[in-house]
């Protein structure tokens, strides 16, 4: 097809292509939005976002603060990693926590150990109102879940923070429409077009640091309904269950109460890439207990203002 080696060498490979698109999107947010924020949790997708932001804006500092919506149910090493990374970058981090929303009475939980993923939406919307953010940049990807496959890169939210899947703005070429009225906002997803495999290939290529629990380690777990539930103060063993020590890694790092590791010996990004190629279980299905409840549970949560 194309024989000219000089031509092929200058072309973009698939990671270059994805990276350039994401950088372009981040710069559009910076140029078009008055007061954006980038959501950073210490998770792998948001670590990728930080590297992309460095590539988009250095040597200048980021044109937005970082923000973490803390459920209070975090793995301590992830929070430590988050703070280290922020210090390294010399950027500003805002932390708002679900605990505060509970104390205010705007979040009511049925029990202390309930998943706080849904409650996160409330705290996020409160933080958006508090700071007057008109755009929040997140690391969601379209391949994660069916409801996300149809979401725009610049995804409009009304004054209630709601996503209306039937009233999405058409998105053409790379001409994004970030315009909002006061009180409305957009969620922006620069790595919409990446898959889990792309993310791990990029982490390997860029040698990105991640919280250690993404790599194979020994951990106490309880085998339950086909999942390996980590033993934590929030997820203790139930009566009659046996605790096992297994070699595992986390594929997503979210709220402790609903995030499970998978059995794996992969202790480098390269090994995880190899494993991801042949893996037979998609990310959320394997590791998020709350998404399994109903096929449409993500869509419902998104309509409520969840990312």
């Amino acid at each position: 097809m194309i024989a000219d080696l000089n031509l092929t060498r200058t072309r973009l490979d698939h990671l270059d292509w994805l990276e350039s698109e994401a950088i372009y999107i981040l710069r559009e947010v910076a140029a078009e939005c008055a007061n954006p924020a980038l959501l950073f949790s210490g998770g792998k997708d948001s670590c990728v976002l930080l590297r992309l932001a460095e590539k988009a804006f250095r040597p200048a500092s980021f044109p937005f603060p970082l923000m973490h919506i803390d459920t209070g149910h975090n793995f301590p090493e992830v929070i430590a990693f988050r703070d280290e990374r922020v210090a390294e970058l010399g950027e500003r981090l805002i932390v708002r926590s679900v605990e505060d929303s509970i104390a205010r009475g705007t979040v009511k939980l049925r029990s202390e150990t309930d998943s706080r993923n849904a409650a996160q939406s409330v705290t996020l919307l409160e933080a958006i109102a508090e700071f007057g953010f008109d755009a929040c940049i997140g690391g969601a990807r379209r391949d994660e879940e069916k409801a996300r496959a149809k979401e725009r890169v610049f995804s409009f939210r009304d004054e209630f923070g709601q996503w209306d899947p039937k009233a999405q703005r058409p998105e053409l070429w790379n001409l994004y429409n970030a315009r909002v009225h006061k009180g409305e906002n957009v969620r922006v997803f620069p790595i919409s077009n990446w898959t889990e495999l792309d993310v791990w290939q990029y982490i390997a290529r860029e040698k990105l640091a991640l919280p250690s629990l993404y790599y194979a380690h020994r951990r106490e777990v309880i085998p339950r309904n086909g999942l390996l539930v980590p033993v934590t103060p929030i997820t203790p063993p139930r009566a009659g269950e046996t605790v096992e020590t297994r070699t595992v890694r986390f594929r997503t790092v979210g709220d402790i109460s609903c995030t499970c590791p998978v059995a794996s010996d992969a202790d480098t990004a390269e090994a995880i890439v190899a494993e991801t190629v042949v893996t037979e279980i998609t990310e959320r299905g394997a590791t998020r207990m709350d998404d399994q409840t109903s096929e449409a549970s993500m869509e419902r949560r998104k309509k409520e203002g969840y990312f």
Partner: protein
């Protein structure tokens, strides 16, 4: 099938984006499901969810591949696809992004949306619905939109060939009928493949049930298509997105112009001009965060530094110093109206082009495209949602105006309703009047 990283012997051909056009009845979702399934893009627990949902919807025993792609709850209730969904899979040499656009008439705007970023279009034809008769109106409509949006490669997937006994005569009939449409529209690169999405014939592997077909299976064809929009030999267009200054020190220490090369190649040492201002300068460095590049091709995001201070702001475009593109203030365009509120020529709109947003006025509405006869003879005074028509526009400030067919990246624009902020129209520049010098 392995991902690109595991085949160092194979060149990574980057990304190919394509759109699939056709209705649910044509087996479009089944075809996409088949591609994903065969490319191991479908993981085990997604399959588990599919068998559960199928049981809910029908009592059938067979796996319904289309349920893998019908995403939203409302759509599952109605059994039709109502919005563009994006799907991903990788072969040993390429990553693919599918825009799955609905085939129903009322959703033309979604097909236009999906087509705007596509390098190729798969037009799906249900051979059992054509028989020895004419092609369906929607096939013509989808093809017209593919042409309108400048999609270079069209693949006609003649589906359900198993249901007509793999009969070459039926395939040849469809081919002849479509050739006529392609000729009228001016589609130049059209390829035909007889497939069975349900049974997998000629999707990923060649089928031994179509011995009369000697072309490649669909996936192989997709792997080999050039992604034209990244052509490095076209004229340089580098719209500046942001001016980057190092903080903390004096403002002149670092000044970089951040952007994505939209067409052509930018090179270190190249003489460039800044439009619309017209000042010339030399490219001193092309920076990519932790290293410098000698050149950057279309699609790459970089930061460009020039040898001297030039007044540059967001929306300005760097072009080669010897290139003299048209700076247009008045132009003709074809637009697809996307908004529920029809075009009102008395109102002003915001026009987004490259990295620039300017005020725009619609001076005249010309003919509307009749997507059934594929001709532009219907006179119109306004355009409503899903209408495609010719308009004359005037913008507040001149900008680099390229004909969409020559340079899609700088020949495209959107119109935004300044009251509602809705994206009101997608436009393609056809004809430009030069600004008097």
């Amino acid at each position: 099938m392995n991902a690109p990283v595991h085949r160092p012997d194979l060149e990574d051909r980057g990304v190919l984006r394509f759109i699939t056009a056709g209705s649910v009845d044509d087996g479009k979702s089944t075809l996409i499901g088949r591609l994903l399934y065969e490319a191991k893009g479908i993981f085990a627990d997604q399959l588990a969810a599919v068998t559960r949902a199928t049981r809910k919807r029908t009592s059938g025993e067979t796996l319904d591949l289309s349920l893998l792609t019908d995403g939203l709850e409302a759509e599952r209730e109605q059994g039709i696809t109502i919005d563009v969904a994006y799907r991903y899979f990788a072969s040993p040499v390429r990553k693919f992004i599918i825009a799955d656009a609905p085939g129903h008439e009322q959703y033309t705007r979604n097909m236009v949306t999906g087509a705007s970023t596509a390098d190729a279009a798969i037009i799906l034809i249900d051979v059992t619905r054509v028989g020895t008769g004419e092609l369906l109106p929607q096939t013509k409509r989808h093809s017209a939109i593919a042409k309108l949006l400048g999609i270079r490669h069209v693949i006609v997937a003649v589906n359900k060939i198993d249901l007509v006994g793999f009969d070459q005569a039926v395939f040849d009939h469809v081919r002849k009928e479509y050739d006529a449409i392609a000729g009228r529209l001016g589609l130049t690169d059209v390829r035909y493949i007889p497939i069975s999405a349900l049974e997998g014939d000629n999707v990923v592997r060649p089928s031994d049930r179509t011995p009369w077909y000697d072309g490649p299976p669909l996936l192989e064809l997709l792997e080999s298509l050039p992604a034209d929009r990244a052509d490095a030999d076209l004229p340089l267009r580098y719209p500046v997105q942001l001016v980057i200054r190092a903080n903390g020190s004096t403002a002149d220490d670092f000044r970089g112009y951040a952007g994505q090369v939209r067409s052509g190649t930018i090179k270190r040492g190249q003489r460039v001009r800044v439009l619309p201002g017209g000042e010339a300068a030399t490219v001193e460095a092309i920076e990519a965060f932790d290293h410098d590049l000698d050149e950057a091709v279309a699609g790459r995001s970089v930061t460009v530094r020039l040898d001297r201070d030039v007044d540059i702001s967001r929306g300005d475009v760097l072009v080669d110093a010897d290139d003299h593109p048209v700076l247009g203030k008045h132009f003709e365009a074809e637009v697809c109206w996307l908004d529920r509120t029809p075009l009102d020529p008395r109102r002003k709109y915001l026009l987004r082009h490259g990295a620039k947003t300017v005020q725009a006025r619609v001076d005249a509405v010309g003919n509307k495209l009749d997507v059934h006869s594929l001709s532009s003879t219907v006179e119109a005074e306004t355009l409503a949602m899903n209408d495609i028509g010719r308009v004359s526009l005037t913008v507040q400030q001149p900008f680099v105006c390229d004909a969409y067919d020559d340079l899609p990246a700088t020949g495209a624009f959107i119109l935004i309703d300044p009251t509602t902020n809705q994206t009101a129209a997608a436009g393609m520049i056809r004809n430009v009047q030069k600004v008097p010098a």
